[in-house]
């Protein structure tokens, strides 16, 4: 029995389906129960959260959590399917501390809102960037530039001719 099936056996109401994704056991979780399931997964020994991926499937947004257990040497992928218009899921920062920056990155590029995150702001792009670039409906026609402002902070500008405004 792989970890996804074990999870399905333990929490049959929260796990929608199990499967295999890129040779890793995958469990699709109901988004309402995600925090509860994440705690259970941590109890099962999955102590390392490798990466959080956000995928835009046009009609829905999927967030995939790749986990690894150093004790059992096992992989597990958790997936939650979110509404495309307002993608919201509970933050797992209380369970895995590393989720802080990973969730900020997913928020920055895909626009998933993590409820309960203490400091949910952009991490790669500067504040004020319009849109989330890895969304399918991102506007590619308005070109945005990163500019060093007068106080040395990165700011967003639509003018590529004057990128350096530091005094």
């Amino acid at each position: 029995m792989n970890p996804a099936e074990e999870l399905k056996y333990l929490l049959p109401n929260s796990v929608v389906s199990v499967g295999i994704q890129t040779n890793k056991p995958l469990a699709v979780i109901r988004k309402e129960d995600f925090l509860k399931v994440a705690e259970k997964v941590k109890e099962l020994g999955f102590d390392s959260l490798s990466v959080i991926t956000g995928v835009d499937r046009v009609d829905r947004i999927e967030v995939i959590y790749n986990l690894f257990s150093y004790k059992k040497k096992q992989n597990l992928a958790l997936k939650v399917v979110l509404d495309h218009r307002s993608p919201e899921v509970d933050s797992v920062i209380s369970i895995w501390k590393v989720a802080d920056w990973l969730e900020r990155e997913t928020y920055d590029l895909v626009g998933v809102k993590f409820n309960g995150h203490p400091d949910l702001k952009r991490i790669l792009l500067p504040e004020g960037w319009i849109g989330h670039p890895l969304r399918k409906d991102y506007d590619m026609n308005t070109e945005q530039f990163v500019t060093i402002g007068e106080d040395g902070e990165d700011i967003v500008s639509f003018d590529g001719s004057n990128l350096l405004r530091r005094k």
Binding site: P133, G160, L163, L164, R166
Partner: protein, 197 residues
């Protein structure tokens, strides 16, 4: 009979204007200089000041140590013993842009990096030259349709030589460097008078 007094200070020796080519050459006193040099068994090099300065500049182009992406790996290869840009006096990669007069934009210029590249360029002292290396620095390359990559580094800084390739072979780098040397050689008045041959 009154003695005739001649005020010698009033006499001005008029020099005949040189008319023939030989007279003109004698007038410049150049022939005596050349003959004197021949006596000393020395040599004389005729040039203009800017051509001498161009020669000095192109013979010791010091690049600034900056690599943005994978093209920088080829930059290391071109500076190593096999391809050896020390032949051009360029092996001294300076860690400070103040001491450099050439910048290789080697790699993808992301939007976040673009103001930093511009700042690096502006910190370099005049005269300065820029070589854009690789598809990414030239046009954006495979990332042209991306939201985060500049579509050519010539949008922010002036570029002298473009080297295409992804990444360019070290031979292509050497060809680009030779093209830049030709460009420097053809700057100034001396080149206009045909002294760069």
């Amino acid at each position: 009979m009154d003695p005739v007094t001649i005020d010698t200070t009033k006499i001005r020796i008029t020099k005949r204007k040189p008319e023939t080519a030989l007279e003109k050459l004698e007038d410049t006193n150049l022939i005596n200089t050349l003959l004197a040099a021949k006596d000393r068994e020395g040599f004389i090099l005729l040039t203009t000041i800017d051509q001498a300065m161009n020669w000095g500049r192109l013979s010791s182009l010091w690049p600034v140590t900056s690599g943005l992406a994978c093209c920088a790996i080829e930059m290391m290869a071109v500076s190593m013993a096999h391809h050896d840009i020390a032949r051009f006096g360029m092996e001294v990669f300076r860690a400070s842009p103040r001491q450099a007069d050439l910048m290789f934009v080697a790699g993808t210029v992301t939007k976040r990096m673009a103001p930093r590249v511009k700042q690096l360029y502006e910190m370099m002292a005049e005269p300065k030259w820029v070589i854009a290396v690789g598809s990414c620095a030239n046009t954006g390359g495979p990332y042209r349709e991306s939201y985060c990559v500049l579509k050519g580094v010539d949008n922010i800084i002036p570029v002298d030589v473009y080297i295409p390739g992804c990444p360019p072979r070290p031979e292509a780098w050497l060809y680009g460097i030779i093209q830049l040397r030709e460009k420097i050689k053809n700057e100034g008045y001396g080149a206009k008078w045909g002294l760069n041959k």
